[in-house]
């Protein structure tokens, strides 16, 4: 999206080496994870439908943002079309519900169909780079909105479609909002675990290489084309899945679901959360869902100003996103205690020179 010049430094991509952590940190992480799990399970039981709606929305957009992060954050390709897949997933689900398909079929197709569309577009476009590629992704929501209106037999046209499904089974004793929350949360957790493993594995490494430098990727035997197609396919699959979840939570879809502005807001939320970061994706979803709520509390008639100011403020303080907050804070603390120093790798300005033995003898000569 930005520069289209020159060559990137031909450095080897940083493969995230597993960092050794002290048992104490591990324990803390485990406890933190456990606490989170408990909160996720208990929260809907005690909170109001409004809060459950917000929590469920966070799950929905976390999955949509995760897809965006796969293609943008991890693979470095700009996508301004994520909202189109969100909308398509919602429409497929709505159609399935109306037609009386079994729910699992709707779920599968809500992911498979957008994934297919995403793959086809990527097959045609993935040889492109940068802005040209971004332009093609812009076309998806731009064309998608009038197309959704045109195909009103399937989509309900501009009026949209109210789709009532996923009612809580009697036996559970849960209210609808609670039941829907659990459904989307289970989907989100499964998706996050799968994607986390994916980006930490071989596929994730090929994403990283392509993000660094496509020519280097080629020389390492990684096809940038195929990698990009894969990333786009995963992104659109997750976008479609998020569409299923969206319909489960909102119970309504219309062409407004896939407008271009949503894609832009998703990109902003992804960067705010943290590019190429799983935790950042969740934080991005929190941001996406909660900032408008907070802005509405501050002043309903100034929401654009407030959102813009918050966005800019976060970028100023945390250019690498909310996910970098602990690191930033940690960095601050560490600076005060020099004992903890030395751990962070420092950039090596002479790094490209071939290794040469140090003339140790010569240096002692002089002393």
């Amino acid at each position: 999206m930005a520069t289209a010049s020159g060559t990137a430094p031909a450095t080897a991509p940083a493969t995230t080496a597993p960092r050794r952590r002290s048992p104490l940190v591990r324990l803390a992480a485990l406890l933190g994870g456990l606490a989170l799990a408990v909160v996720l399970v208990v929260a809907p039981l005690v909170s109001s439908p409004f809060i459950n709606y917000q929590l469920s929305s966070i799950m929905v957009f976390a999955v949509a943002l995760l897809g965006l992060n796969v293609v943008m954050g991890y693979t470095g390709q700009v996508s301004l079309g994520q909202s189109a897949f969100l909308g398509l997933g919602a429409y497929v689900t709505a159609y399935g519900v109306v037609q009386g398909w079994p729910l699992w079929l709707s779920l599968v197709l809500s992911a498979a169909l957008p994934a297919t569309v995403g793959m086809l577009v990527a097959l045609a476009a993935a040889r492109l780079r940068g802005l040209a590629l971004a332009m093609i992704t812009i076309a998806l929501p731009i064309v998608g909105v009038p197309l959704a209106r045109r195909l009103d037999e399937f989509t309900g046209g501009s009026q949209g479609q109210v789709v009532s499904f996923l009612r809580a089974p009697e036996t559970t004793g849960l209210a609808n909002d609670q039941w829907r929350y659990y459904v989307v949360t289970v989907i989100a957790v499964v998706v996050f675990v799968l994607v986390r493993n994916l980006v930490r594995g071989r596929v994730g490494r090929s994403f990283a290489v392509v993000k660094e430098n496509e020519a280097v990727a080629l020389s390492m035997g990684v096809s940038p084309y195929r990698t990009k197609v894969l990333a786009f396919t995963i992104a659109s699959l997750l976008g479609g899945l998020a569409g299923f979840m969206y319909l489960a939570v909102v119970q309504y879809t219309s062409p407004e679901t896939l407008v271009f502005a949503t894609s832009i807001n998703l990109v902003a939320a992804m960067v705010i959360g943290g590019s190429a970061s799983i935790v950042g994706t969740v934080l991005g979803a929190l941001y996406y869902v909660l900032v408008p709520v907070v802005a509405g509390q501050v002043s309903s008639s100034r929401t654009a100003l407030i959102s813009g100011a918050v966005l800019l403020a976060v970028l100023f303080v945390l250019p690498a996103g909310l996910a970098s907050l602990p690191r930033r804070v940690g960095g601050r603390l560490r600076r005060r205690t020099p004992a903890a120093e030395g751990a962070p790798a420092t950039p090596d300005p002479d790094g490209t020179a071939p290794a040469v033995p140090t003339p140790a003898a010569a240096s002692t000569d002089r002393r």
Binding site: A4, S5, G6, T7, P9, R335, E341, P344, T346, P347, D348, P349, D350, G351, T352, A353, P354, A355, V356, P357, T358, P359, A360, A361, A362, S363, D365, R366
Partner: protein
Amino acid sequence: MSLLELEDVRASYGHADVLHGISLTLPDNGATGLLGANGAGKTTTLRAISGMVRTTGRVLFEGRDISGLGPDRTAALGIAHVPEGRGTLGQLTVRENLLVGAYRRKDKAAVSADLDYCLDLFPNLAERIRSHAAALSGGEQQMLAVGRAFMAKPRVMLLDEASLGLAPSTARRVYDAVVRLRQEAQVAMVVVEQNANLAFSVVDDATVLETGRVALHGTSSELLGMDAVRRAYLGG
């Protein structure tokens, strides 16, 4: 008076100190080399001179303290830094690259004369005058980088790893041009070079850096006389 003087220059990236107090002197129209291992601080020293890193200590150019000035200011004073990786402007043509070098100059006639001189110095560039820099070979790009630095009509040129990634014959041609520039255009040189043979073809003396400190300084012949230096840099 010496042209360029470094007094106890220190620099750091983030929390890591890279230079621990470097002192150097370059006479008018002199040429000095910086040698040292990977990570010894050679490039950082050049960056300290041209103001690309924040430093403490003093950098004197023509007797004036220039530490704290940014790269555009030091360049305007007459320090032409040919960075590692060449830094050519890929989307601009060869000719445009050379003219960017002469951005601060108002003497149009002299600029045009220097352009001719430059193309005479590097006949390859003359052939490709309308090509985009990004389309040039590595050697041609290096020549362009040196040529662009020359177009600023500098007092001193900072040359960083000019032979990196080039075939030996190409590297030789680049250094032949550098030698000519020193002799014909009276440009002083600070040369960072892994290939000591090439370096010693230009410089009068050299400083060996080790982990950000000056380990050794001597004239070319002194250094060539030391076994350790020869072993480390001349493959002998």
